[in-house]
């Protein structure tokens, strides 16, 4: 199909945005790493290899991500199976529950597990600074990816395949190993790649729970850049991390492609059935119990500890947020942080929705290769770590125009992260209305533009609202990039939580602030769930 000029025009806006706020900062990071003082030098890269501290950071980043991924997959598979194959009371409620951790800002996840497993834990343990706290938090955060990703495929595997294997003499375990597992492999691999990606670039969780005993590449980039002002080393680390992320994304793409292979697909409604044997009931109960424990307990403890004061349960910590007793010049008041967060969220949502919609129209209209490439390029910020984006802004956006003091910088960073979510929410809907309805409209005498306005827009607006809510949730919870570019006066809620955690005597206020952030996110998440309805979305 011939590319029409208006598509090129429409493509120019997202392309320019991405070029200036994503590609240009990344190139600058590379340049800063390789040409630190105006001359080409590999010293920063050599330092990563030779410095034992840097080596151990890289090693830790890798193995904690591997371990987190393995644990998440092992715990996620039984849950995916239970949701895919059985009908039981409260199924959709529990399914929604598993999504809760995933929509929570990572800093809130860190704070929740600090409440459960850190100092003053109701369980009498203090795992702060240990790998266990980090692993458990990563499992909590990523479980939904495995449950959803694998579950969707599992629902579509014909149970007759397993029955056939059983009648051919395979025991239950053998059936799983020889039939189910090979068929699920693409979904397991692609979910695992995503879990690995998020664990590999984990920031908020590590910062809060690692207590600086454990540092990932992501944390180290932030530390080297903000605490030691070693921009060259931070750049080299960012380049190293980008290489790792690229490898993971390539594996993810490969796994995703293999999912297109033909399977004897069945509608999911037919497959799920009520449990019949005691063993099946036991499995469901145990799985739901595990989910309840891992999802509900951290959140409940965090809420409880936000209400816990020396004189019993009270709203003291919340009151302190609005009337901070220890406000200071270098420290934004929590109330201002809440105001900042909402003020930044509005432009972030507008930018993300606007550019995401333009990009979506381009992707759908320019079918074929160019559309796919455009789609892939726009997904890149999703894979790139938030810290790298923030760091890139810091090193790149002082010229040609110095934007670093601009009030718009934070919303732009948030929009960059959110645009892929807007695209993923809208493109499937636009693609599905494309053919028949448009043809119908054309036959009824509507011009392409009229057809778009009359047919696509009403249908797409709902999907766009979902994307906008995603963008809102991302903006209010974003921590990695914001921690780089926020000044004390422009601190957002996550930044304020982190500051409160770092100050003596404000632990309760940090909990209260995290609960406030969770509540704001929950409202957005409920909006997303209700608008998406039963339709299974792209993200």
């Amino acid at each position: 199909m011939r590319t029409r000029p208006w598509i090129l025009l429409l493509a120019a806006v997202p392309a320019a945005f991405l070029a200036y706020f994503f590609v240009y900062p990344l190139v600058t990071i590379l340049y800063t790493g390789l040409v630190p003082n105006g001359r080409f030098a590999t010293s920063a890269f050599v330092e990563i290899v030779t410095n034992p501290a840097m080596r151990s950071v890289a090693w830790f980043t890798l193995w904690q991500a591997v371990l987190s991924t393995v644990l998440t997959v092992i715990l996620g598979l039984p849950a995916a199976y239970v949701f895919a194959r059985y009908r039981f009371p409260g199924r959709s409620l529990f399914r929604s529950l598993t999504l809760v951790p995933f929509v929570l800002p990572t800093l809130v996840v860190g704070v929740a597990f600090l409440a459960v497993l850190g100092p003053g834990s109701p369980f009498g343990v203090d795992l702060r600074g240990t790998i266990w706290a980090i692993l458990i938090a990563h499992v909590f955060y990523n479980l939904a990816i495995v449950i959803r990703g694998v579950g969707v495929l599992w629902e579509q595997i014909d149970p007759h395949l397993e029955d056939a294997a059983r009648s051919l003499g395979a025991g239950r375990w053998r059936v799983f190993r020889e039939v189910t597992l090979p068929l699920l492999r693409p979904a397991i691999l692609s979910s695992a790649a995503l879990v690995f990606l998020f664990s590999f670039t984990s920031f908020g969780v590590i910062l809060v729970l690692g207590d600086l005993h454990h540092s990932t590449l992501e944390v180290e980039i932030w530390r080297q850049a903000t605490a030691f002002l070693r921009l060259d080393l931070a750049s080299a680390l960012a380049v190293l991390q980008l290489v790792g992320v690229t490898v993971i994304l390539l594996l993810y793409g490969k796994a995703g492609k293999r999912m297109d292979g033909e399977l004897p697909l069945r509608p999911s409604a037919e497959v799920a059935r009520r449990p019949r044997t005691i063993g099946e009931r036991l499995l469901i109960t145990a799985t739901l119990g595990m989910l309840g424990l891992i999802v509900v307990v951290p959140i409940a403890v965090m809420i409880a500890r936000s209400l816990n004061t020396p004189t019993g349960l009270a709203l003291t910590h919340y009151a302190n947020l609005f009337d901070p007793p220890r406000a200071s010049a270098v420290f934004v008041s929590p109330l201002d942080a809440i105001g900042n967060t909402l003020r930044f969220a509005v432009p972030a949502v507008i930018i993300a929705a606007g550019i995401g919609l333009m990009a979506g129209v381009v992707i759908v209209s320019a079918r074929g290769r160019s559309g796919r490439i455009f789609d892939t390029v726009l997904m890149l910020p999703l894979g790139t770590s938030a810290v790298t984006i923030g760091f890139g802004f810091l090193v790149a956006l002082d010229q040609p125009i110095d934007l670093r003091a601009s009030i718009m910088l934070i919303p732009i960073a948030h929009a960059l992260v959110a645009i892929p979510f807007v695209i993923r929410s809208t493109v499937p809907v636009m693609e599905s209305v494309q053919h028949r309805l448009r043809e119908a409209a054309a036959v009824l005498g509507a011009s392409p533009r009229q057809a778009w306005r009359e047919v696509d827009l009403p249908l797409v607006s709902r999907a766009l609202a979902v994307g906008a809510l995603f963008a809102f949730a991302i903006s209010v919870g974003e921590f990695g990039a914001t921690s780089f570019i926020a000044r004390p006066a422009t601190s957002t809620i996550p930044v304020a939580i982190f500051r409160l955690l770092g100050r003596p005597g404000t632990f309760g206020e940090a909990m209260a602030m995290a609960v406030v952030l969770m509540a704001i996110t929950a409202v957005a998440a409920m909006g997303i769930e209700s608008m998406r309805g039963s339709r299974s979305g792209g993200v």
Partner: protein, 327 residues
């Protein structure tokens, strides 16, 4: 020999099987026929060990198999949708059961070749199952089921997914394959012609219970009740009073319905009963003639030649061929 007695299976409280009895003799092909939802597939799955019965007994050679898990029963099961493993090629599918038995790979290879030869797909081992036609898939599924030499072969509508001409062809072929390997077969279908073509015996299942079990001819000649007669395709069900008008007397006062097989009606100008031809339709080889006896009574028979509608006709009924039941 498979014996099923008083088998009951419930799903969420509603019985899918309700006290069903069935005996399958060694080296026989026993068809289980019933309308959809009658419990025939559930029966097959319970025998295979894939569904746990609530009560009743399943024995093989007089020993209970209820405590034996599906994979150790040695019963092969073939599905209507074939359930071929999409991640394995033809040979990989056929070899699956043999591998589960822990056989030597050289033995497996030669057995796979033999079985593929048996089902008429020699040399298909390396093909991907995604590239096969419907008939080829059916043969691969059959080969996979037969390869481990199951004590009992269970088939769930094995030809249900194929078109008619292919179905008839494969049906004859399957019968000869089962005879050649001396298989004991329980074959589920809803199709009468399929059942009658392949079966040594036919069991009729209705609402989770077996209502008839006989040879195909016995079933045709002596249907136990009106529902079964209609289900196997007998049409001429008449009230005793209507039959009395034709000179056919019921054997006792409690039998209220009789069924006349179409071949028991003979048309001839000198016959004793009069009727009007209401319809005459060519059905390949013979005409289906509908006779209107007046007063809303209709009879169906076959004739080698067509008769124009509205023509008067005369016919006789072979009294010995009429079967009676209380209905």
């Amino acid at each position: 020999m498979l014996e099923v007695s008083q088998l009951t299976v419930r799903f969420d409280g509603t019985p899918a099987l309700d006290g069903a009895d069935l005996t399958v003799e060694d080296r026989s092909i026993h068809v289980l026929m019933g309308p959809s939802g009658s419990g025939k597939s559930t029966m097959l799955r319970a025998i295979a060990g894939l569904e746990a019965p609530e009560s009743g007994e399943i024995t093989w050679n007089r020993r209970s198999v209820l405590g034996v898990p599906a994979h150790k029963r040695g019963f092969g099961l073939m599905f209507q949708d074939y359930a071929l493993f999409p991640h394995r090629n033809v040979a990989g599918n056929v070899a699956f059961g043999l591998r589960m038995q822990g056989l030597d790979s050289a033995i497996i290879r030669s057995r796979v070749d033999d079985v593929l030869e048996l089902v008429g797909l020699p040399g298909y081992g390396d093909r991907s199952v995604g590239t096969l036609s419907g008939g080829e898939r059916q043969r691969v599924a059959l080969a996979r089921t037969l390869a481990p030499r199951p004590r009992l072969v269970l088939l769930d509508e094995p030809l249900g997914a194929l078109d008619r001409s292919l179905r008839e062809h494969l049906l004859v072929e399957m019968r000869s394959i089962f005879n050649r390997v001396e298989a004991t077969v329980l074959y589920v279908t809803h199709d009468r012609e399929e059942a009658f073509t392949i079966a040594d015996r036919v069991a009729i299942i209705r609402d989770g219970g077996i209502v008839a079990d006989d040879t195909p001819e016995g079933l045709w000649r002596r249907p136990p009740d009106g529902w079964t007669a209609r289900f196997i395709g007998l049409e001429n069900l008449c009230a005793a009073s209507a039959l009395a008008d034709l000179g056919v007397q019921p054997p006792s006062s409690t039998t209220t319905t009789g069924v006349i097989p179409p071949e028991a009606i003979s048309l001839s100008p000198t016959a004793s009963n009069a009727a009007t031809v209401a319809g005459s339709h060519f059905r390949g080889g013979a005409y289906r003639i509908e006779l209107d006896l007046g007063a809303g009574s209709m009879l169906v028979t076959w004739s080698p030649i067509g008769i124009e509608s509205g023509t008067a006709a005369r016919f006789d009924v072979d009294v010995t061929r009429v079967s009676w039941f209380e209905d």
